[in-house]
């Protein structure tokens, strides 16, 4: 079975600084996708970024980028120029077929 691990329960970053959120996963599959979802206080799950396992190039979406290390089964999210609106719970997720498997999430706070 696939597992997703987010070992840091909380992180804090100063506004305008850069922060990296860690995620590791375990799978025997070769073709899969990895995702980062953001959950603000409203509890809505919002897709931040996704990465296909076959692509070596790390995905980037504006201020958000990932560091995908397939051999190490690591998938970290880097947020550059952090903004107050980035404060939320962030979930790493894995998908090879139908369902998404989520990590426990990390609470990110942004200090003004």
């Amino acid at each position: 079975a696939q597992t997703v691990t987010q070992s840091q329960p909380e992180m804090s970053v100063q506004e305008a600084e850069t922060v990296t959120l860690s995620c590791t996963y375990d799978t025997s599959e070769s073709d899969y996708y990895l995702f980062w979802y953001k959950q603000p206080p409203s509890r809505q799950m919002i897709l931040v970024i996704r990465q296909e396992a076959y692509k070596q190039q790390n995905a980037t979406e504006n201020r958000f980028s990932v560091n995908f290390q397939k051999a190490a089964k690591s998938f970290s999210l880097k947020i550059s120029d952090s903004q107050l609106g980035d404060a939320a719970m962030y979930f790493c997720a894995y998908r090879s077929a139908s369902k998404l498997t989520f990590g426990k999430g990390i609470t990110l706070s942004v200090r003004p």
Binding site: D31, Y32, Y33, Y37, S42, R43, Q44, M45, I46, L47, R50, E52, F91, A93, R95, S96, A97, S98, K99, L100, T101, F102, G103, K104, G105
Partner: protein, 115 residues
């Protein structure tokens, strides 16, 4: 931008009662999902649904749960006899394909409180 809509936003019920959580997926999507998030815990997969059939379900999705697409737009999750431990946030999601590349779009969730 199209979005997944869930109603109600908050449902309070007595233990043993039946509840129906409603979802309107994105209109051209054919694959539907329910997830659950107990307060402070990770989001857990419950069930996936396609072509009026359950595609996959988790161990959580036991006989007290059922899903239905009663018409062309709604997708519902029914809990027949609620228990205290069913209190959670329930998320509906939809996608336009079943593959890993197809993004699942989530609704804002329904908070279920069982008293």
């Amino acid at each position: 931008e199209p979005e997944v809509t869930q109603t109600p936003s908050h449902q309070v019920t007595q233990m043993g009662q039946e509840v129906i959580l409603r979802c309107v997926p994105i209109s051209n999507h054919l694959y539907f999902y329910w997830y659950r998030q107990i307060l402070g815990q990770k989001v857990e997969f419950l069930v996936s649904f396609y072509n009026n059939e359950i595609s996959e379900k988790s161990e959580i999705f036991d006989d007290q749960f059922s899903v239905e697409r009663p018409d062309g737009s709604n997708f519902t999750l029914k809990i027949r006899s609620t228990k205290l431990e069913d209190s959670a946030m329930y998320f509906c999601a939809s996608s336009d394909g079943a593959g890993a590349k197809n993004i699942q779009y989530f609704g804002a969730g329904t908070r279920l409180s069982v008293l």
